[in-house]
C-alpha cells in the first residue's frame, strides 16, 4: 500500500483529499502545517506528499526546502497544491524540486490520475 502525506491547514479541503485517497487505497497521513509535516516525516517515509503553500508557521516552500535536505526522502514525490496561481510562484515551487504544481481549485479526479502517474 502506497503512503501519502497531505499537508494543508484548511480542514474541509483535507477532508475531501483524505476520503478520495483512502478510497484509492492509499495509507493517508495528515498534517496541519509545515512543522507538523516535518514531525510526521521523522517517523514515516511516504511515497508522495501533497503540500499547501500558504500555511501558518512554516509555509509550503520552507517545508520542501527542509524535506530536500533529508537524504531519506530523496525518492519521495512532492505535489504543491496552492491558491497561489502566479507564474512566478509555480516556477519557484518547481525550482525547489517539486514534481508538480497544482493550482486551487482543482479537479479531484485529475489529481488522482496525476498522482498515480507520478508514483508508477
Amino acid at each position: 500500500m502506497k503512503k501519502i502525506l497531505i499537508v494543508d491547514d484548511e480542514p474541509n479541503i483535507v477532508m475531501s483529499l483524505e476520503y478520495t485517497f483512502k478510497k484509492n487505497n492509499f495509507e493517508v497521513f495528515i498534517a496541519r502545517d509545515g512543522q507538523e509535516a516535518l514531525d510526521i516525516l521523522e517517523k514515516q517515509l511516504p511515497d508522495l506528499i501533497i503540500l499547501d503553500v500558504m500555511m501558518p508557521m512554516v509555509d509550503g516552500f520552507a517545508t520542501l526546502e527542509e524535506i530536500k535536505k533529508d537524504s531519506r526522502l530523496q525518492h519521495c514525490k512532492v505535489i504543491f497544491l496552492s491558491a497561489k496561481n502566479k507564474q512566478k510562484n509555480i516556477e519557484k515551487g518547481l525550482a525547489l524540486g517539486a514534481d508538480l504544481y497544482v493550482v486551487k481549485p482543482f479537479s479531484i479526479k485529475k489529481l488522482v490520475e496525476q498522482v498515480n502517474e507520478l508514483i508508477q
Binding site: 479541503i13 475531501s16 508557521m57
Partner: protein, 903 residues
C-alpha cells in the same frame, strides 16, 4: 622717613615688578599670563595717579565732580561686546599696532593721517605723562618730608624718572613686530592694578573705620564744615550740562587713549576675555570709588584751614597719625598707578612715533637695502630711544610747565586733545562714506580749537589771572575769549573746549566726507572695516588691487624685515590657505594685502604700503570700478550662499523623493501581497466547495454520514465566502469614502453590554471571566451604533480567541476625558509583538507567529475596525503591555466636543 630709605624701598619694589615682567615673559603661553582676569586688570591702567590722588582732590574741593570720569566708562562698557570685538577683529587681521595705524589704514592707508594722529597723541599724552611724574615727585617729597631741589641733578625724582625710562625702553621693545603681545608688561601692569586697588582700599578702611567711626561719622562731621552743601549739589542746569560733557569725554577716552587702545585691543589674546572685562572692570572702578569721598572729607575735617594740597590727603592722613607703614603703602600704590600709565603710554607712543612718523617720513629710505638683522635692530633701537626720550621730554614738560597745576586739570586737557580722534575713529567703524579728507579736516580743526581754548591758555598759565588774552580776548574782542567763545559762559574751560572742538570736528568731518568722496582705496578699507564680520576669515579677498606684481619681488622685500625662513613659512601658509600653486610667480590682490600685513607690525601700515608699492606696478582703478568689484564680491558671497542653500534644498528634496519612492515600492509590494491574499482567501472556500461537490457528484457509494459532512462543509464554506465578500465590499466603501455613518447620541456602556450578550455563548465555552470598568454609569457619545458594535464585537472576538486557555480573563475599561472617550479591551493571552503592533491593522495581516492552528478569520476585521474608528474621528491602537496580555484601545470624541464636529 629719609630719602635713602624710601629709595631703597622703591628699588626693591621695582625689582619685584621687573621680576614679574621677566617671569611672565618667559611663560608667555602659560594660563597664568593669558587669562581674562589679567586682561581685565590690565585695563585698569585707566586708573592713574590722577584717580589715586587727583579724585580725592576734586572730591575735597568740589564734591561729586570726580564721578563723571568713572560714570562715562561704566555706561559705555556694555557696548564693548559689539564695538570692542569689532575693533579687535579689524586690528587682528590687519596686524594693527596702534590707534594711529587703525585710523590711517581705514582712510586709505594714509601716511599723512597716521602722522597727524601720532602728533595729536603726543600733544595729548606727553603732558599726561608729566602729570604722573609730578605725582611721583610730589608724593616722594611728602613721604620724605623734603623739598624739591631746583637743580635737576640733585633732585631724586630725576633719577627715578631715568630708571623708569630705562625699564620701559627695555621691556617695551622686545619684538620688532609691534603687533606682537607683550605678556611681561601686561602681567606686571595687571599686578600693579591689583596692588593699587588693595592699597587704596586699605587706606580707605583705615581712615573710615580707625581714624573716624565709619561713614556716618565722617558725614556728620563734614556736614558741619562751611561750603559742604554748596560743594555737594550738582548745581542747576549748567552744572548738569558740565557733568554730561565730562561723561561723554571719558566715554571717548576709554576707547581712544593710546594706553587703553593698547591694553584692550593690541594685547587682547582672546575675544571672549571681553566677557569677563565687561563686569570686572566696572566693578574695579566702583570699588575704587567707595573710599574717595570719605578720604577727601576726612582730610577736610582734619586739616581744615591749613591749606594743604587736597590731592595728597591719602598720604597726609596716615602721616598725621604717624603711621609710617601705611604712608609708604599708599605711596607705593600711587607709584604703581603712575608707572603703569607711563610705561604703557610710552610704549604705544613710541610705536606710533616710529611706525607712523619716523619710518614713513624718513627712515624708510635707509631701510631699503640692508640685511634683516640690521633693519630689525634699527627699528627696535629707534623705538627704544623713542620711549626713553618721551619719558625724558615728559619730565622736562613737568619741570617747565605743569608744576603748578592740579592732577585733574592736566588729565582732562589730555582727554580733550585725544577726543579729537573720536569722529574719525567711530566713523571708521560704522560709516562707509567717511573720507580721508574729512578725517584730516576734522582732526586739524578740532585740534586748533583745543589749542586756542585750552592749550595756549594753560601754557600761558591760568593762574596768572592778569593775562589779558584770557580775561578780555585777543585784541579785546570779547566774543573770542578763549574760555567763553561766542559768549558761551556756563561751561567750565574743559567742557567748553570739548564742546567747541567736537562740534567743529564732527561737522567738518561729516561735511567734507559727504562733499568730497574718498579714493578707491579708502572705499575699499571702509568696506573691510564696516563689514569686518563678513571678511574675518579671509579678509585678503576683500582687498581690491589691479596691476602687475611678482611674488619674487615682494618676497625680497619681506625677507629684509622678516628674514628668509619666516618669509618662506608665511608664503607656505598663504599658498595652503588659498590653494595656490607655489610655482606661480604672479602676485594677486590677496598676496599684496597679505604681504602688507606681514610688514605692518614691523614698520606700520603706511610704510608697508610704500615698500610694497615700490616693487609692484599698480594700475589706477576708478572709484566706480572698486565699488563694482566690491559689489561683485558681495554678490558672489550672496550667490554662494544661495547656491549652498539651493543644493541643500535639492538634497532634502532628493532624500524626500527617495523616501517617497521607497514608500511607493512598499505600497506596490503591499498591493501584490493584498491581491495574493485576496485570491487565496477567495479560492480556498471555492476549492473546498469544488472538491466536496465533485466527490458527491462522482461517487454514489458514499456513506450517508460522510455525505452529510461534505454537504455541511459546502454550506460553511459558502457562508465564509459570502462573509468575505461582504467585508471586502465594506472595506472598499470605507476606503473610497462611500460608506456613510448614521450618527446618533448613544450610551457606550449599553452598546458594550449588548455586544457582550451576543458573544455570551463563546465566552461560556471558553470559561472566560469578564470585567467591565466604567468611570460613570452613563457615558454618552455620538456614534453609529451598528458600526461600533461591529468594532467591539471584532475586538472581543479576537480577545476571546487569543485569551489564555486556563483562567481566561477579559477586562473592558471605559474612561472619559474632556476630549475623548477611551475604551480599552484587555485579554490575558499571549500579547502582541512590538514589531507587529502597527501592522496588525493592515488588510489581511495575520500574525506570522500564531502558535495555534490558523484561527478562523478573514484578516480584514481589524482593518475594518480601523476604518470605522477613523471615520468617527477617533483613533485605534494597541498598547505595549510587556507580555502581560494584549490591550486594544480606541477613542471616540467626547459627547461635548462631538457636537462641533460634523462627520
Amino acid at each position: 622717613m629719609s630719602s635713602i630709605e624710601l629709595l631703597l624701598i622703591l628699588v626693591l619694589y621695582l625689582s619685584i615688578l621687573f621680576y614679574i615682567a621677566y617671569w611672565s615673559e618667559k611663560r608667555s603661553h602659560s594660563k597664568w599670563t593669558n587669562n581674562a582676569y589679567i586682561y581685565s586688570f590690565s585695563l585698569a591702567v585707566y586708573c592713574t595717579a590722577w584717580t589715586y590722588y587727583g579724585s580725592i582732590g576734586v572730591a575735597a574741593e568740589s564734591g561729586l565732580g570726580y564721578l563723571p570720569i568713572y560714570i562715562g566708562p561704566i555706561l559705555v562698557i556694555p557696548t564693548w561686546m559689539i564695538i570692542l570685538k569689532r575693533i579687535i577683529r579689524i586690528s587682528r587681521v590687519n596686524k594693527i599696532s596702534s590707534i594711529a595705524d587703525f585710523i590711517s589704514l581705514r582712510y586709505g592707508n594714509s601716511r599723512f593721517l597716521g602722522a597727524l594722529v601720532t602728533i595729536i597723541c603726543l600733544f595729548g599724552i606727553l603732558p599726561y605723562i608729566s602729570l604722573q611724574l609730578k605725582s611721583i615727585s610730589d608724593t616722594f617729597y611728602i613721604v620724605t618730608k623734603t623739598q624739591a631741589s631746583s637743580n635737576i641733578f640733585t633732585d631724586t625724582t630725576t633719577y627715578v624718572c631715568i630708571a623708569l625710562a630705562l625699564f620701559a625702553s627695555y621691556y617695551g621693545t622686545k619684538y620688532v613686530d609691534a603687533s606682537e603681545k607683550r605678556r611681561g608688561i601686561v602681567t606686571a601692569v595687571a599686578i600693579e592694578s591689583i596692588l593699587k586697588l588693595i592699597f587704596f582700599l586699605i587706606i580707605g578702611s583705615y581712615i573710615t573705620f580707625f581714624v573716624f567711626d565709619g561713614f556716618d561719622d565722617i558725614y556728620a562731621k563734614a556736614s558741619l564744615l562751611e561750603n559742604f552743601d554748596k560743594k555737594n549739589t550738582i548745581g542747576g542746569l549748567s552744572q548738569a550740562i558740565n557733568w554730561f560733557f565730562l561723561c561723554i569725554l571719558s566715554m571717548f577716552a576709554i576707547f581712544l587713549l593710546p594706553r587703553q587702545f593698547h591694553t584692550a585691543i593690541i594685547e587682547n589674546n582672546k575675544e571672549r576675555h571681553i566677557q569677563t572685562a565687561i563686569w570686572l572692570f566696572p566693578l574695579y572702578l566702583l570699588l575704587f570709588n567707595i573710599f574717595i569721598y570719605p578720604i577727601a572729607w576726612g582730610g577736610n575735617i582734619l586739616f581744615e584751614g591749613k591749606g594743604f594740597n587736597s590731592d595728597t590727603y591719602s598720604l597726609l592722613i596716615p602721616q598725621y597719625f604717624d603711621n609710617k607703614f601705611l604712608t609708604v603703602l599708599v605711596f607705593l600704590g600711587g607709584f604703581s598707578a603712575a608707572i603703569s600709565m607711563i610705561i604703557v603710554s610710552s610704549i604705544s607712543l613710541a610705536t606710533m612715533l616710529s611706525n607712523n612718523l619716523l619710518i614713513p617720513y624718513g627712515f624708510i629710505g635707509s631701510l631699503k637695502d640692508i640685511s634683516q638683522e640690521k633693519n630689525s635692530k634699527r627699528i627696535v633701537n629707534s623705538r627704544k630711544i623713542g620711549i626713553f626720550l618721551l619719558i625724558i621730554v615728559a619730565y622736562a614738560i613737568y619741570r617747565g610747565f605743569v608744576l603748578d597745576y592740579s592732577l585733574v586739570s592736566i588729565g582732562l586737557v589730555s582727554f580733550v586733545v585725544i577726543a579729537q580722534l573720536a569722529p574719525s575713529f567711530f566713523g571708521a567703524l560704522f560709516w562707509r562714506r567717511g573720507s580721508k579728507k574729512g578725517a584730516v579736516t576734522g582732526i586739524i580743526l578740532g585740534f586748533l580749537v583745543c589749542l586756542y581754548t585750552i592749550l595756549i591758555p594753560y601754557a600761558i598759565g591760568i593762574t596768572k589771572s592778569s593775562s589779558t588774552f584770557i580775561q578780555s580776548g585777543p585784541w579785546g574782542i570779547t566774543l573770542l575769549k578763549p574760555f567763553h567763545i561766542l559768549g558761551l559762559d556756563y561751561l567750565d574751560p574743559i567742557q567748553h573746549a570739548f564742546f567747541w572742538s567736537m562740534l567743529l570736528n564732527t561737522m567738518s568731518y561729516l561735511a567734507v566726507s559727504v562733499s568730497l568722496r574718498g579714493n578707491y582705496r579708502e572705499r575699499n578699507y571702509a568696506e573691510m572695516f564696516v563689514d569686518i564680520d563678513q571678511y574675518i576669515t579671509n579678509h585678503e579677498n576683500a582687498f581690491v588691487w589691479k596691476g602687475i606684481a611678482y611674488i619674487s619681488d615682494i618676497q625680497k622685500v619681506l625677507e629684509r624685515f622678516l628674514g628668509e625662513s619666516r618669509t618662506r613659512r608665511a608664503l607656505t601658509i598663504f599658498n595652503l590657505k588659498y590653494n595656490i600653486d607655489k610655482n606661480d610667480n604672479t602676485a594677486d590682490a590677496r598676496f599684496i594685502k597679505f604681504a602688507e600685513n606681514l610688514l605692518t607690525g614691523h614698520i606700520g601700515t603706511a610704510s608697508a604700503k610704500i615698500l610694497i608699492a615700490n616693487v609692484i606696478q599698480e594700475d589706477k582703478i576708478s572709484l566706480p570700478e572698486v565699488l563694482r568689484i566690491l559689489e561683485e564680491s558681495k554678490e558672489n558671497i550672496i550667490i554662494n550662499k544661495k547656491l549652498t542653500d539651493t543644493s541643500r534644498e535639492l538634497k532634502t528634496i532628493s532624500e524626500k523623493l527617495k523616501v517617497a519612492n521607497e514608500q511607493l515600492i512598499n505600497k506596490d509590494i503591499q498591493k501584490d501581497e493584498f491581491l495574493d491574499t485576496v485570491t487565496h482567501e477567495l479560492r480556498t472556500p471555492i476549492t473546498a466547495i469544488r472538491a466536496a461537490s465533485e466527490i458527491l457528484h462522482d461517487d454514489d457509494e458514499i456513506p450517508q454520514e460522510i455525505r452529510k459532512q461534505f454537504l455541511k462543509s459546502i454550506i460553511t464554506e459558502s457562508d465564509r465566502l459570502n462573509r468575505l465578500i461582504d467585508k471586502i465590499l465594506d472595506l472598499e466603501k470605507f476606503e473610497t469614502g462611500k460608506q456613510k455613518l448614521h450618527l446618533s447620541k448613544n450610551d457606550l456602556s449599553i452598546t458594550i453590554k449588548n455586544t457582550l450578550a451576543s458573544l455570551n455563548q463563546l465566552i461560556k465555552n471558553k470559561n472566560i471571566s469578564i470585567e467591565v470598568k466604567a468611570s460613570s454609569s452613563e457615558i454618552k457619545a455620538f456614534y453609529d451604533e451598528e458600526r461600533i458594535i461591529q468594532v467591539i464585537h471584532n475586538l472581543l472576538s479576537n480577545a476571546i480567541k487569543f485569551c489564555s486557555e486556563k483562567e481566561g480573563k477579559i477586562t473592558i475599561s471605559i474612561l472619559e476625558n474632556t476630549q475623548n472617550v477611551v475604551i480599552k479591551i484587555h485579554n490575558n493571552g499571549k500579547g502582541i509583538k512590538k514589531e507587529e503592533m502597527e501592522s496588525i491593522f493592515d488588510k489581511f495581516y495575520q500574525s506570522r507567529d500564531q502558535n495555534v492552528k490558523k484561527p478562523i478569520g478573514s484578516g480584514l476585521g481589524l482593518a475594518i475596525c480601523k476604518q470605522i474608528i477613523e471615520h468617527h474621528k477617533g483613533k485605534i491602537w494597541t498598547e505595549d503591555t510587556d507580555n502581560n496580555g494584549a490591550t486594544f484601545v480606541f477613542t471616540l470624541p467626547n459627547y461635548k466636543t462631538t457636537e462641533s464636529i460634523s462627520i
